[in-house]
């Protein structure tokens, strides 16, 4: 399990890698929050439910990351751990699970940049030799 930050001239990409699809999604989310804060400083003390639905897995990744950005703004949270389940539903895909983190505190957290949105640019969700990967470009 790991994430990688992908080079992009204007913005930044994120790639989650895992043995399962779920792990790859969770790592992509960690990668996205690593752009916004030092993850080691974000304690998993508060848990929020997350959910997303889409017609395909690319759409599910973009929707999931978008949901986390919504929760960041609405709840004033940073997240560092994720546990999600992904299943097929009505011919599409459904994600459910939880995000763990703590309220953002500029005095305690070393902050990075604010990610505006997850985009379909460079999106890939697939099984490779390295395991499952889930990646896309983020609008910063």
């Amino acid at each position: 399990m790991a994430y990688e930050i992908l080079e992009h001239t204007a913005d930044a990409g994120v790639r989650g890698i895992g043995e399962t699809l779920e792990e790859a999604f969770a790592e992509a989310a960690r990668g996205m929050f690593s752009l916004m804060a030092d993850l080691a400083q974000v304690r998993p003390v508060r848990e929020l439910p997350v959910g997303a639905m889409a017609d395909d897995l690319s759409g599910l990744l973009v929707a999931f990351l978008g949901e986390l950005l919504f929760l960041r703004d609405k709840e004033g949270m940073l997240f560092s751990q994720f546990a999600v389940e992904i299943e097929r539903e009505n011919g599409g895909w459904k994600l459910g699970g939880k995000a763990l983190g703590e309220p953002l505190d500029p005095r305690r957290h070393r902050l990075g940049v604010e990610v505006k949105a997850a985009t379909y640019a460079g999106v890939r969700v697939e099984k490779t030799e390295r395991g499952y990967i889930a990646q896309c470009i983020l609008d910063v």
Binding site: I5, L6, E7, H8, T9, A10, D11, A12, M36, A37, A54, S58, G59, V62, A63, G66, L69, F70, R72, D73, K74, G76, L78, L104, P106, R110, L111, G112, V113, E114, K116, A117, A118, T119, Y120, A121, V123, D139, V140
Partner: protein
């Protein structure tokens, strides 16, 4: 795409001829130097200066040219680079009856733009108290990830923001009435409908109104270094060594959420109306369809949100600066406020006849030339000002709209330098604290909420803004009025 695929029309003008499903040609307004990263082929070298890293921007120009109802050309302004659906620096005008409204033509930061304030202060006055001025602005204007504004909104009040735009802020005591005359569209889009905006989008605005954000957003105290067009400078009230304040920000989380929400809604609409999706951010709906109308009403609401945000921030700047220098708040005036991620109905001349078009500008500002009735009366003879952002360490430019620009690019302007290097690479190359010291030695005081964020915004990570201005002015699209330099920069 290769150089041979393009037809040169002038020093700064190129045609991307119609091929495949393109309905109109592409038009590029770039110098050879600016064109180099856009084409693949002879130079495939990795890294800066090499060719081809931005080749997909031209594919995006082609994709936009294939959208239904596009009029005349798919336009790439001098600061063109790859975006989402539309290229950044992309302009596309559509027939209101047969055309479409496309999500990628607006993007995720609706009405991101620049407000510039005129002060009666001279460079020396601010130089003498630079630290104090920087500290006051840094403390008073909320910026950076997770920052909260001075105003807390209820859900009903968010609806008021979305309907009234800058006027909402004024009614709350943020601003002076004169401000509204110097904002594009008077600071308010009539077509805004809060019902077209999701509850989730509104919830993101509760604490964010009047916050700057982060990334490439900034607040800058600048001085006028050089004036190129004395007549326009007089109309704008600009003098050499005068202090200006530039505010670059957009519609914050609310705008981003509208983008995210309509990415899905417009994907459904594209399929429903049988419009091929060439890139998933280029989803669209016919302008006349219920889906298209709803998206336009949501975008107008997002535009109003950004106008309100900049209006609040502008007034916070007044509150921070005026008492320091013994000025009344009214002495700090709005030069102009103009967005660069918008879609709007406008009147334009096409083949000699005036008609209404829906103009998308993604990473391009409106730049209306002389005589346009939309311009504030003092600017009517010269066209309205536009602001071309440089970097923390380099000059910015004030340009104006021209007749040539009205004719060739639907009255559009360039908006900034554009990045040349990825954020990750910039962070490896520069350390935030060191960079700020270097800039300090050049007389530019930076206050940043994030050192990592500052490193990503290092001047060396950007293209040369002079090249962008040279092409815009050389092609006649915009005219040069003044060059300004930063003294203080506040970063999120």
């Amino acid at each position: 795409m290769k150089l041979e695929d393009l037809r040169r029309l002038g020093e700064y003008e190129w045609e991307l001829p119609r091929v495949g499903e393109m309905r109109v040609p592409g038009r590029l307004y770039v110098s050879e130097e600016l064109l180099r990263p856009l084409i693949s082929g002879e130079v495939e070298a990795e890294g800066e200066g090499g060719g081809g890293q931005e080749w997909n921007a031209l594919l995006q120009v082609q994709n936009v040219a294939a959208l239904p109802g596009i009029v005349r050309a798919s336009i790439a302004m001098p600061d063109v680079h790859p975006g989402y659906g539309f290229p950044i620096g992309g302009v596309g005008a559509f027939d209101p009856d047969d055309g479409v409204v496309a999500m990628g033509g607006v993007g995720f930061d609706i009405n991101c733009g620049v407000r510039v304030l005129l002060t009666p202060l001279q460079r020396q006055e601010v130089e003498a108290r630079k630290e104090e001025v920087a500290d006051r602005l840094f403390a008073h204007v909320p910026a950076g990830l997770g920052s909260e504004g001075h105003i807390r909104l209820s859900i009903d009040e968010v609806d008021q923001v979305l309907k009234k735009g800058a006027r909402f802020a004024l009614e709350r005591g943020y601003g002076i009435p004169e401000d509204l005359e110097y904002i594009e569209e008077g600071g308010r889009m009539e077509g805004a409908d809060p019902a077209a905006v999701s509850q989730r989008a509104k919830e993101r605005e509760f604490k964010q109104i009047g916050t700057l954000g982060s990334g490439n957003h900034y607040l800058e105290v600048q001085y006028v270094e050089e004036i190129y067009d004395p007549e326009a400078a007089r109309a704008y009230g600009l003098e050499k060594d005068q202090i200006l304040v530039a505010i670059h920000c957009g519609s914050r989380g609310l705008g981003h959420q509208i983008g995210q929400d309509y990415l899905q809604e417009l994907e459904r609409a594209s399929k429903k109306y049988g419009i091929p999706i060439r890139e998933r951010e280029l989803v669209c709906a016919p302008i006349r369809s219920p889906e298209g109308q709803k998206y336009l009403a949501a975008v107008d609401a997002g535009i109003n949100c950004a106008f309100a945000n900049r209006q609040v921030i502008a007034h916070l700047v007044r509150e921070a600066l005026a008492p320091l220098f013994g000025l009344s708040l009214e002495k700090i005036r709005t030069l102009y406020d103009v967005g660069h991620n918008n879609v709007k109905f406008e009147r334009h001349r096409v083949n000699g006849a005036e008609r209404t078009l829906l103009v998308h500008r993604k990473g391009s500002t409106r730049a209306f030339g002389p005589g346009r009735p939309e311009n504030p009366p003092p600017y009517r003879r010269v066209g309205h000002p536009i602001f071309v952002g440089g970097t923390m360490g380099t000059a910015s430019y004030i340009l104006r709209g021209t007749e040539v620009g009205m004719e060739k690019v639907f009255g559009s302007g360039v908006h900034g330098a554009g990045r040349a290097m990825s954020r990750a690479k910039a962070k490896r190359r520069w350390r935030g604290a060191e960079l700020l010291r270097e800039l300090g030695a050049q007389g530019i005081l930076v206050r940043a909420h994030s050192f990592a964020g500052a490193a990503e915004e290092a001047p060396g990570a950007y293209k040369n803004v002079e090249l962008v201005v040279e092409a815009a002015v050389g092609a006649g699209l915009n005219a040069n009025v003044a060059r300004v330099r930063p003294l203080i920069c506040i970063k999120g």
